[in-house]
Amino acid sequence: MAVSIEDVEHVAKLARLHLTGEEKETIRRQLSDVLEHARVISEVDTSGVPPTSHALPLVNVYREDEARPSLDPDEVVSNAAWAVEHSFKVPRIL
């Protein structure tokens, strides 16, 4: 399963990664190897096997609708790199 340079660039962009040409090629090869390795699984006949999105045999786990105390806003922003009063401050978006 070959991954193209375009695939790598697309995924890098989505992940906000800036890669050099050399890095792209390395990652292209590595991702291809990973997918090739996983391809073996697709040889198994899985018709009739439901996709396993969850490993546990659990369904319908709920909490009751009760409000509980939140954190102190001082505490909320205490680890923020950048904050104004109790708001997180972030660089311009667009």
């Binding site: 319908n60 909490r63 806003p73 009063e85 708001s87 997180f88 401050k89 972030v90 311009r92 667009l94």
Partner: protein
């Protein structure tokens, strides 16, 4: 060229739960920035979200009200994107298996019924609020943004319709009916201005049956702006097509002040949210018993109530639609009907003067100072001809402003109409004596004189004379 407008809506309604979707933070509106946040809704590592049962119930209830089927097994997905309004860098939503899907909502238009297909109703979490700081005050050209995550994680029902609406008016009516439905179910505050009910639209114009290009419109914050934005866009696309231009597939932003839509500068590439099943939340398999219990909780819905008002109380369609468009207004009407007075008269008073007074004072019907019983009194006073319709308007205003009952106002102010023939006769005699010219004109058959004399009688009685009685007295005394 034969143009046809095609509209589909995507609506987000915040669910009125006590706590957020996946954590116990309060959902109260307002509050200091980030004062309703915790490690779960802030997306700290190692936390475990747990679904709010009430939010799931509300979404299923809405799905049932819209005649959707409940999915036997549905799951949550992560919608991944880089935008600071979600601290996790993903939003928990639903993707290929929504909680409910495949419904319809029928709406009565003038002279026809429109069935709008409901593609799906699913459950997700709301995002935080960004305030863009900079000269422009908007996202473009902002210097930086401030993030408040109080809203992040509030349960949000998403309703997606089929492209079944054919005019901006149909879209507006749909939205009002959906709002009423949410209100009847009691699952959302439905405040478009506060953003607890939001709407995006897809609109295209087909030419001679050939499908047009879909344009997405955002930022419509009221029923009026939804209608205006879609009307503008319909016209814009028709003009483009009429000139032989292509309509560009894009997202456009409605500028309410300018009354136009602008293309939103989009991120260059197509959205790729890389949805995958949320591993921290287990699937939802609503058992049939629960679904049936929820179905049993469905109240009479707006359209059914409207039809009943028409059949049971003989209300005209327009008034019936107006009253049932807001649950509390319809409830008020039915409480007033319990007074035993004529339902049509009551409905007209509510839909006309009372709603005008409420709007003027910006008071919701729930806080109306005039009790439904009081409105019954008012209608009774008019029906018994104790006061005229015109006086009743003033009495209603006074009742609204003072909170006093109409009967008490009429008694205290001595407003009761003069019905007593002897009493009125004395007034008429005096008026005739004081206005000999008009009286002789009247005797000569000049009808204009009647108006003048009536005016004098009304002035002398401060408007309390029963008009029919006074007229007949003048005619009797001054017959040619």
């Amino acid at each position: 060229m034969g143009f046809e407008t095609v509209i589909g809506l995507e609506i987000h309604a915040e669910l009125a739960t006590e706590s957020k979707m996946f954590c116990g933070c309060s959902t109260d509106f307002g509050g200091e920035p980030n004062s309703r946040t915790c490690p779960v809704c802030l997306g700290h590592p190692g936390v475990l979200p747990v679904a709010n049962r009430e939010a799931v119930a509300s979404t299923i209830l809405l799905g049932l009200a819209l005649r959707c089927a409940v999915t036997p097994r549905s799951v949550f997905h992560r919608k991944n994107y880089f935008y600071p309004d979600m601290p996790k860098n993903f939003q928990i939503s639903q993707y290929d298996v929504p909680l409910t899907s495949g419904g319809t909502l029928s709406m009565d238009m003038e002279g026809y019924t429109r069935e709008v297909g409901i593609t799906r109703v699913h459950l997700e979490e709301d995002t935080g609020k960004s305030i863009h700081i900079g000269e422009s005050g908007r996202i473009h050209g902002a210097d930086f943004s401030l993030e408040d995550f109080n809203r992040a994680g509030i349960p949000l029902a998403e309703i997606v319709t089929e492209p079944d609406m054919r005019s901006p008016e149909e879209a507006r009516v749909f939205m009002q009916l959906l709002r009423a439905t949410l209100e009847y179910l009691g699952i959302s505050d439905c405040k478009m201005e506060e953003g607890s009910l939001r709407c995006d639209a897809n609109i295209s114009v087909s030419v001679d049956g050939r499908p047009g290009t879909k344009v997405e419109i955002k930022n419509m914050n009221s029923f009026r702006s939804l209608f205006r934005a879609l009307s503008f866009e319909e016209e814009r696309q028709r003009t483009e097509l009429g000139l032989g231009h292509e309509v560009v597939q894009e997202t456009r932003h409605w500028d309410d002040a300018a009354g136009v839509t602008h293309p939103l500068r989009s991120k260059e590439e197509a959205f790729d949210y890389r949805y995958f099943p949320e591993p921290d939340l287990v699937p939802i398999e609503p058992d049939l018993e629960w679904v049936e219990e929820l179905r049993g909780r469905l109240p009479e819905l707006p359209r059914a109530r409207r039809n009943r008002f028409e059949a049971e109380y003989g209300l005209p369609g327009e008034i019936s639609a107006m009253l049932t468009g807001e649950k509390a207004l319809a409830d008020y009407f039915e409480e007033a009907v319990a007074s035993g007075q004529d339902p049509v008269a009551l409905a007209k008073w509510i839909a006309g003067d009372l709603v005008a007074l409420l709007n003027e004072a910006v008071v919701p019907i729930q806080a109306c100072p005039v009790h439904p019983r009081g409105l019954g009194e008012l209608v009774a006073l008019v029906a018994q001809r104790i006061i005229s319709g015109k006086m009743a308007k003033d009495v209603l205003r006074e009742a609204f402003e003072t909170g006093k009952g109409p009967e008490r106002i009429v008694r205290e102010k001595g407003l009761a109409q003069i019905e007593d023939e002897g009493e009125l006769e004395a007034v008429v005699d005096r008026v005739i004596e004081e206005n000999p010219d008009a009286a002789s004109d009247m005797r000569e058959g000049k009808e204009q004189a009647l108006k003048f004399l009536m005016g004098r009688v009304m002035k002398a009685t401060r408007g309390k004379a029963n008009p029919e009685l006074a007229t007949s007295l003048i005619r009797k005394k001054l017959s040619p």
